[in-house]
């Protein structure tokens, strides 16, 4: 229950932090989407209901703060969560390359989706932003995702004594991404 109560508060905190960090580091030109990484992380760590709700809340708050249309990031975040969730059954997240690549691809897909949406639905001409904003943004997320996963893993070990595993993922059906 505490999780559901604290979720909106956590989303506000994370999004406020990412806005401030983006302002300071990139002077508002690029965003550091910690919320996006949290959603990816949720796909690998949380169960379906909790994770979907987290993606919904984070997406909704982000929509309210940054999006011209409420619902855009909500839908994207839920889709990203579902992708991560499905992929978590197949691949192991221990490998940094995999996490980085997955974060990068998710972010790039998301950015392209947003641009297509802006172009087709809202008639914003933002295609020129792909090489200058979308790609750097995806690279940033690709680089930050393994770091975030590492930090969360350390926190899990600190709190639980071992990395946290949700109940559905304790089986042996997944394929390891370890080289």
């Amino acid at each position: 229950m505490a999780y559901y109560l604290l979720l909106p508060l956590l989303s506000l905190l994370v999004i406020a932090l990412q806005t401030v960090l983006a302002d300071i580091i990139f002077l508002g030109r690029l965003a550091i989407e910690i919320s996006f990484i949290v959603v990816i992380y949720a796909g690998f760590r949380l169960d379906l209901a909790k994770g979907a709700l987290l993606a919904f809340v984070f997406g909704f708050v982000l929509d309210c703060l940054t999006s011209p249309v409420i619902g855009l990031f909500t839908v994207i975040y839920i889709l990203v969560f579902l992708c991560s969730f499905i992929l978590s059954f197949i691949l192991d997240i221990e490998k940094i390359h995999f996490i980085a690549l997955f974060g990068f691809l998710c972010a790039l897909t998301k950015e392209i989706f947003v641009i297509i949406f802006y172009n087709l639905v809202l008639n914003f001409d933002t295609v020129m932003n792909i090489p200058f904003i979308c790609l750097p943004q995806a690279i940033i997320i690709g680089l930050l995702t393994p770091l975030f996963f590492y930090l969360m893993r350390r926190l899990e070990v600190f709190f639980y004594g071992k990395p946290f595993h949700r109940t559905e993922r304790t089986g042996d059906s997944r394929i390891s991404a370890k080289i």
Partner: protein, 275 residues
């Protein structure tokens, strides 16, 4: 019932996703950016943003201060150097301004007198106890000759006593060897103005029965053939009647401040041939 219990998570996620899609569709069509949810979230996130911004800004400021401190000594040196350079530059401009001011006054004097002038710069002052002279940067090559009168705003300065090729020496009217034929402007009484040291002079040979009061203006009389008539010499500072003497003892303060003399005009000819 069994189906719902087994797939409740999946159903929940599907419902959430459908709800998000409906929300997106609705807002694409109807949202004007003024929804109540936006307002609530904006209000709710404001304190977090303020707090996060405060913390990050504090760290950023501290870092900036540290970085600033590292380069502060060098920057300080550079600024000090710039200040010195600017001060020197300012001094030059100030000097130029004052010079222009003086020259303007000099020009006004030149316009008021119907004579040909040679403007000269004072290059040395020898106002010792015995000799009250100055040296100017013009000489015989510029057409100067011994005896020519020298003026500066607002009046008479002296006359040339030594003229070299490029420099000349001027005997100031305050020198004790200097005598100028003068008259009192108000009463037209004639006397001799003699130098008596810095800023000081005496008007001699004015008889006791003459009307002389403090503040009377003394001008050159034009007699003697050295100084033209009408040049301002000074002002009566003090008048004393002495019983045993035939003449009044009149102390005079000169109009020209010799301590601040920098440019002068030498009266080359009696008539302004240049005009």
């Amino acid at each position: 019932m069994f189906f719902f219990r087994n797939y409740k998570s999946l159903i929940l996620v599907t419902l959430i996703f459908i709800f998000a899609l409906i929300m997106l569709s609705y807002n694409v069509k109807y949202d004007k950016g003024e929804g109540i949810f936006r307002k609530i979230v904006l209000e709710a996130v404001a304190p977090f943003q303020s707090f996060s911004h405060f913390i990050v800004k504090s760290v950023d400021d501290s870092w900036e201060r540290y970085v600033t401190l590292v380069g502060l000594v060098e920057k300080n040196k550079q600024l000090a150097k710039t200040i010195h350079e600017l001060k020197a530059e300012l001094l030059i401009y100030k000097e130029g301004y004052l010079e222009a001011k003086r020259l303007r006054t000099l020009l006004a004097l030149r316009e008021s007198l119907d004579y040909a002038f040679v403007a000269a710069r004072v290059i040395a002052k020898k106002q010792t106890a015995l000799s009250k002279t100055i040296v100017i940067d013009k000489g015989s090559f510029d057409g100067l000759k011994t005896g020519m009168p020298v003026v500066a705003p607002p009046g008479l300065v002296g006359r040339l006593i030594n003229v070299s090729w490029n420099v000349s020496k001027v005997l100031l009217i305050t020198d004790e060897n200097s005598n100028v034929d003068a008259i009192l402007y108000r009463t037209r009484v004639q006397g001799i103005f003699s130098g008596a040291g810095l800023h000081e002079g005496k008007l001699k040979y004015i008889t006791k029965n003459q009307d002389v009061i403090r503040g009377d203006t003394i001008i050159s009389s034009g007699m003697g053939g050295v100084f033209p008539k009408g040049l301002l010499i000074g002002q009566v500072k003090n008048v004393e009647k002495q019983d045993k003497e035939l003449f009044l003892k009149i102390d005079v303060t000169t109009f020209v401040d010799f301590s601040k003399l920098e440019e002068v005009l030498v009266l080359v000819s009696e008539e302004n041939e240049g005009k």
